[in-house]
Amino acid sequence: MTTDTVSPGRRVSYRFNKIGLMSLCIILAWALVAFLAPLLAPYPVGKIVNFEFYAPMSAKFWMGTDYLGRDMLSRVLMGARYTVGISLVAVALACFMGVALGMMAAVLGGWIDTVLSRLMDALISIPSKLFGLVVVAGLGSSIPVLILTLAVIYTPGSYRFARALAVNINAMDYVVVARARGEGLGYLVRSEILPNITGPVLADFGLRFVFIVLLLSGLSFLGLGVQPPFADWGALVRENLGGLSLGAPAVVFPSLAIATLTISVNLLIDNLPRKIRDQGA
C-alpha cells in the first residue's frame, strides 16, 4: 500500500548487529593475516624447526608442530593466504561471470537467454567435486588452475541466482521506463539492474565463498589442492589428520581456522544490516 506520508520505518541504517560485527571482524582479521602472513609467521613455512612431530602447544611453538616438526603457527598463518586468497579470487571470478552473464540473459532474453541457461544447466548437472577433480587431476594442480576450476564450478550457480534476481528487476517499471527511453544493454545492466541486486548478490557471494573454501579443502584432502610444502588450511588438516587421535594441535588449529572463517561468513550473511540485505530484494 502506498502511503502519502513517509512511513517511520523507512530510514534504515547500515549498522551491523553484534553478531554481524563480530563475524565481520573475524573475516577482516583473517583477510589481514592473509595479507601480512609472511611478516607474521615466526618461522619459514617449510622449515623443520623441531625434531619432535605433533609437538604440543608451547611458548616457542604456539600451535605446536606438524607431522614433520614444522611450526604450525607459521603454517596456519601462511595457509590463510592460500585459503582466503584462492577462494576470494575464485569467488570473485565466479560471481563476476555469473552475475554479468545472468543480467545479460535476463535483459536480452530470447535465444541468448535460452542458450546460456541451457549451457549453465548442463554445467550444473556435473557434480562439482568430480568436475574439480577431473580438471585438477588432469591439468595438474597449480594456483591458477585451482582458481579457474573453482570459478568455473561456481559460475552456473551464480548465473542462475543473478538471472532470477535480474528477471524480477527487469520487469520493474523503472526498467521498462528506461527501455522506453531507448537505453541500451550496458546502461540497463549497469545502472538499473546491478545496483538493485547487490544485496542478495553480496549474500550469495559470501555463501559461495564458503562453498569454495570447503571445496578447496576437499580437493586438498584428495591431494589436489595447493601443493606442498605450501598448504592451505584444508591441506594442513589433511597432512596432520594422523594426529587427530593424538589430539595434536596441528590438526585442531587449521580445522578451527576453517570453521571460524566459514562460520563467520555464514553468520555475517544472516546478520547483514537490513539496508544491504534489502537492496533490491
Binding site: 541504517s13 528506461a178 538493485n196
Partner: protein
C-alpha cells in the same frame, strides 16, 4: 442497546527499523452497539486498519498495543495473550480482508478454508458446517453454491472470492465482523454485487460490523456511523448522514470534495478536428505469447483499436481490469510491439519496437506508470533519476542538468531539497510527482499516463490531477490518460474512449459518457460508480442482462 465494542484511549506503538518507537494510534475511543456497522474512514497511514485489527487483539509485526482497552463483549482484547485471543478469533470477531485472493490459501479447497474456523474451534460436526457454508454461499448470491466449495481459490473470480471470504467470516457466527477495504481491489461493476451481498447478510443476521475504507461513497452505502481518522487520531465521528451531508471537520470536507471532481473544461471540441493530430493510431493489434499461424499472438490483448489525439488534447482510456488498456499504452510506447496497425506521431509512422525508433521519436512520447514504488529505481537519488533523461536526450552538462532538475522539481511542486533523497524516503504522492517530472525532463509532446492516480489516496490523487492540468496549460502537452476510475478520467480528458475485452467500444466526450444512446457497457460502467448518497445502492436498478453480458464477477 448494549455496546458490543468499547474502545478506550487506545494507543499503538510501532518500532522502526532504526529502533525508534513511534506512536501510530493515539488516544482513540469509540463504541459499537449490537448490530451496528461503524465505518473507519481515512487515508492510508491513518491507522484505520490498525485500529480494526486491535479489535481482534492483533497488532501487525513491529507494532504493539501499548495502552488503553479494547473491550469486546466480556474480553479486553488489548490484555489477552496470544492463545486466549486465538480462542476468541473466528467465533466472536471475524475478519474480511482487502484482498481475498491473497487471504485464501492457494493450496486448499475453498470449502476446507471456509469451515476451518469450525475445525479450529470444534463448533459443530464438519458435515453440518459444510451444509451451513452452502447456506451462506446461497445467501451471498454465489453461483453454484453446492459445488463452489470444491474449487481452489484460483479457480473463482475476485468478486466471488470476496464473498467467499465473507462466508468464511460468517461461519462461526461472530458477533462482530471487520471489513477491511473488502471491495477496493474490485472493479466497479463487481463491487456492486459484493456490496449488495454483504449488506443483505449483515442486515439479515444483525451482526455488528467495522467497515474500514478510504471510499466515502462506498461507506455511505454500508455504515450506520462513520469515524474519520487521520494520523492515528479521530478527527470526527457521527451518523453517516450527518458526516456526508454536514461534515464538521475540514478534513472530512476535503474527503467529500475529492469524491466527485469537476468535469474537465477543455478547449473547444470544434477546433480540434481542424488541427492535424499529434498521435494517430489505426487498426492496432497487440498481444502476448508466441505467435500463431496467422501472425497473431496467442493471447490477443488489443484488437482493432483506432485512436486520435490532437495536439494539446487529452484522451482518456477507461475500462476494467483486463480490458487491454495498459497493453495499448505499451504498444504505443513500443515496449510491446504491435502486431499490425499503424502508430503515427505527427503524421510519421513509428516503428513497432522502441529500439528501432529514433531517439527524437522516443523523446516525444513518455510513459508514466501506476505504481510509483516500482517506477523509481530505489538505488538512485531523485536528482540522478531526473538527470538521466536530460543527459540521454539533451546531452546537458552537469551544471545545466542540476539547474534543470531544480526547475523540474519546481514544476511538479516538490521542494528542491528533495533531490538528494532516495525514492524510499518519499511519500506516494511525492514519488508520483518525481515519476512525472522524469517524463517532463524529456520535453515530450505526449505523456502516456497509465493509472497514475490509482494507488494514491483520493485527496492526493486530486492534487496530482490538478498539477497535470496546470502543466498542460503551461507546456502544451497532450496526455493519454489510462484509468479504471471514471471520475478521474472525466476530470482531465477532452475525450474518453471506453475499452472492453481489447476493443474500443465507444469514444465520446466526458459529459456524454453513460448517457442514454451510448454504448450499453459505458452505461453500466457509469451507473456502477458509487454515489455519495446513502440510498444509492438500494435504489440502484441495473439491467440484469447487461450485467450478465459485461460484468466480470
Amino acid at each position: 442497546m448494549a455496546n458490543i465494542v468499547e474502545v478506550r484511549n487506545l494507543k499503538v506503538e510501532a518500532v522502526t527499523d532504526a529502533g525508534r518507537v513511534v506512536t501510530i494510534i493515539d488516544d482513540v475511543s469509540f463504541d459499537i452497539a449490537d448490530g451496528e456497522i461503524v465505518a473507519l474512514i481515512g487515508e492510508s497511514g491513518s491507522g484505520k486498519t490498525t485500529i480494526a485489527l486491535t479489535l481482534m487483539g492483533y497488532a501487525r509485526p513491529g507494532c504493539r498495543i501499548s495502552g488503553g482497552s479494547v473491550k469486546l463483549g466480556a474480553h479486553d482484547m488489548a490484555g489477552l495473550g496470544e492463545s486466549e485471543c486465538a480462542r476468541v478469533r473466528g467465533i466472536e470477531v471475524a475478519y474480511i480482508p482487502q484482498s481475498a485472493a491473497a487471504a485464501f490459501n492457494p493450496a486448499h479447497t475453498i470449502m476446507d478454508q471456509v469451515i476451518e474456523v469450525v475445525r479450529i474451534h470444534r463448533l459443530m460436526p464438519l458435515r453440518d458446517a459444510r451444509a451451513k457454508a452452502i447456506e451462506l454461499f446461497k445467501a451471498l448470491a454465489l453461483p453454484h453454491p453446492e459445488t463452489i466449495g470444491e474449487r481452489y481459490p484460483h479457480q473463482v473470480s475476485g468478486g466471488q472470492l470476496q464473498r467467499l471470504a465473507a462466508a468464511m467470516a460468517l461461519i462461526g457466527d461472530p458477533k462482530l465482523i471487520i471489513f477491511d477495504e473488502p471491495t477496493t481491489a474490485l472493479d466497479v461493476t463487481t463491487q456492486i454485487e459484493v456490496l449488495r451481498a454483504f449488506k443483505s447478510v449483515m442486515q439479515g443476521k444483525k451482526i455488528a460490523g467495522v467497515y474500514v475504507s478510504h471510499d466515502l461513497a462506498v461507506v455511505a452505502q454500508m455504515a450506520d456511523r462513520i469515524i474519520v481518522l487521520k494520523g492515528g487520531t479521530i478527527q470526527e465521528a457521527g451518523a453517516t448522514e450527518q458526516i456526508i451531508k454536514r461534515p464538521g471537520h475540514p478534513y472530512t470536507q476535503a474527503l467529500i470534495n475529492a469524491v466527485e471532481p469537476a468535469l474537465f473544461a477543455g478547449v473547444n471540441a470544434k477546433e480540434e478536428a481542424a488541427k492535424p493530430p499529434l498521435m494517430e493510431v489505426s487498426n492496432l493489434y497487440a498481444g502476448y505469447g508466441g505467435f500463431l499461424d496467422k501472425g497473431l499472438p496467442r493471447l490477443l490483448a488489443v484488437k482493432h483499436v483506432d485512436l486520435r489525439v490532437p495536439a494539446g488534447h487529452n484522451l482518456g482510456i477507461i475500462g476494467e481490469s483486463g480490458c487491454g488498456k495498459s497493453t495499448l499504452a505499451r504498444a504505443i510506447a513500443g515496449l510491446l510491439p504491435a502486431v499490425t496497425g499503424n502508430i503515427l506521431l505527427e503524421g510519421k509512422a513509428l516503428a513497432p519496437y522502441a529500439r528501432h525508433r529514433s531517439r527524437e521519436q522516443l523523446r516525444q512520447i513518455q510513459i508514466v506508470f501506476q505504481s510509483a514504488d516500482t517506477a523509481l529505481n530505489p538505488s538512485k537519488s531523485v536528482s540522478e533519476i531526473l538527470e538521466r533523461p536530460l543527459l540521454f536526450y539533451h546531452g546537458m552538462t552537469r551544471r545545466d542538468r542540476a539547474k534543470r532538475v531544480g526547475e523540474l522539481l519546481d514544476m511538479v511542486k516538490l521542494p528542491r531539497g528533495l533531490g538528494n533523497r532516495r525514492p524510499s524516503e518519499l511519500s506516494g504522492g511525492q514519488k508520483q510527482r518525481v515519476n512525472f517530472a522524469r517524463a517532463l525532463a524529456a520535453d515530450p509532446k505526449l505523456i502516456l499516463c497509465d493509472e497514475i492516480t490509482s494507488a494514491l489516496d483520493t485527496v492526493v490523487a486530486a492534487a496530482v490531477i490538478d498539477l497535470l492540468k496546470e502543466l498542460q496549460r503551461e507546456l502544451g502537452l497532450s496526455y493519454i490518460f489510462i484509468s479504471h476510475d471514471l471520475s478521474t478520467v472525466r476530470a482531465i480528458c477532452n475525450d474518453v474512449a471506453v475499452m472492453y475485452a481489447g476493443e474500443k467500444v465507444e469514444q465520446t466526450s466526458p459529459d456524454k459518457i453513460g448517457q442514454a444512446g451510448g454504448h450499453p457497457y459505458s452505461r453500466l460502467l457509469f451507473d456502477s460508480v458509487p454515489k455519495l448518497d446513502q440510498g444509492w445502492l438500494d435504489s440502484l436498478k441495473q439491467d440484469e442482462a447487461l450485467i450478465e453480458a459485461y460484468a466480470v464477477r
